[in-house]
Symmetry: C3
Subunit: 206 residues, 3 copies
């Protein structure tokens, strides 16, 4: 009786194989896809979106001295050159950087900075005219090294689509009006900054 | 000697088809799920957890002047209002902000800041009384613009569950004891800050 | 009219069942895996890579006073101790921290900081010798509290594989040459920092 066994077995296996080859293959594939494809594709799309989205830089500019006005503007314009998004939130003294009456005359403090490249004893640094001298000195070094001026850097930022945001609270505290600010400025609060920074790759407080 | 005649072949085909039609559908579905469901669900849960978790803000407050005490507290309390988690790590001069003997008398420096709203020549800014005057001036502007005081902002932070952490090293260096600090403060080191900030969306050094 | 006797029918049923149970099982499993395994594994690997990769700290050190030289070095060396990667980008006054002619003589400003632990009226803080006195005072407190010196912290950073990067633009502006810098320094620009920081968990501007 085992010959019959063997022959039936072989017939069944052969028929099964034919079925698999012709029919089941495509059918199971379609079943698997209909169950999993959408979900797996959705996951792949999310991961891919995160990998390919532009990087984002979010900077708070809180200082108004000439030397500390450079880092936010240089970092933001470099970010734009690297095809990253960027926004600068100008608050406290940093508001001067976008104040049309002040931004072309930001100054370098002549004292209280022992790391000043030309060390001046504080007592001399306190004398009238020393702030102007420290400022002139820094501007001439910046020029010689071909670093753009503050106002040129602001132009670059604006043209690159970098968001420049003036802090509402600082404007209230210091009595600065929208009309005192240069063009192309949005007004916002710390919530504006935090919402932007929450999705940023590089948040920095200068 | 084969019993496998055409009729047996047709029988196998028919039985195979019945089996496939009745059994396979539900069976393949269950197989796919048992192989893939758990893994795909786990991935979906992880992605979802990341998308829905609260944002986190981690701030280092290293400055003790009145003007620079505001940014950490305003950013942290705004974060809480936006339903984000936050912690402030008070280190170096920033420890004064949570020092009960100092936090209600933080001062604004009257010199070395060419961006002071009322520019005072450094030589005058150095005179006795000028620090007090600059401080009074800033406090009155803050008041007029309805900005909360430092101590009110600290209350808001504490009540919002924001972690306020005093730097152990700074306490050692400056001889400050836990009893010198206001209530509701944890003590920690830079590792405490880095561990918290490693999972933060918005780490900032003020 | 069937000549297919009952035994053959039962045999066919039995063989079919065995074949389906044994063959199809393995075949469907292999089909599902071949369709989905690679994609699901790839997703799992990506998520896992992100969860297990080392954390990264990216610091800008822009200040050159002794007190503000500590935070970047302490944060970076603590990061290394926590098995995180780190890089410090020394720019503006911060370049002094890696300038071999300056890094062992960084100073603490004696004025314009109302949060100085030993408050000195600005007018006295401006006198010759006060910077040196403030610096000596801070160094002695740091010593007593067993905080490493700047140059020891730099050694720790270098030995831990922390990248120390000097800012090209600052070197140009301040006329500093590579030979003025300590060993083990790379030179880079703001793009170098931004590229590193874009993948950092903890970017900080000191």
């Amino acid at each position: 009786m085992s010959i019959i066994n063997k022959e039936v077995q072989e017939l069944v296996d052969e028929k099964l194989k034919e079925s698999i080859d012709s029919k089941l293959n495509g059918w199971v594939e379609q079943k698997v896809r209909s169950l999993m494809e959408e979900r797996v594709s959705a996951l792949e799309d999310k991961i891919k979106a995160r990998e390919t989205r532009k990087k984002r830089v979010a900077i708070v500019a809180s200082k108004g001295s000439l030397d500390m006005a450079y880092p936010p503007l240089i970092l933001a314009s470099t970010a734009a050159a690297l095809d990253m998004e960027a926004a600068i939130f100008f608050t406290f003294y940093g508001l001067d950087i976008i104040n049309k009456h002040k931004y072309k005359s930001l100054k370098v403090p002549s004292l209280a900075n022992p790391a000043m490249p030309v060390p001046v004893p504080n007592i001399l640094g306190a004398l009238p005219g020393m702030t102007a001298m420290a400022t002139l000195m820094m501007k001439s070094w910046m020029n010689k090294a071909h670093v753009a001026s503050i106002s040129d850097l602001i132009d670059v930022c604006r043209e690159s689509g970098i968001r420049l945001i003036g802090c509402q609270m600082t404007m209230d505290v210091m009595g600065v009006k929208k009309s005192d600010l240069i063009d192309g400025i949005e007004i916002g609060g710390s919530a504006t900054f935090l919402d932007y920074a929450a999705e940023a790759d590089i948040p920095l407080f200068v």
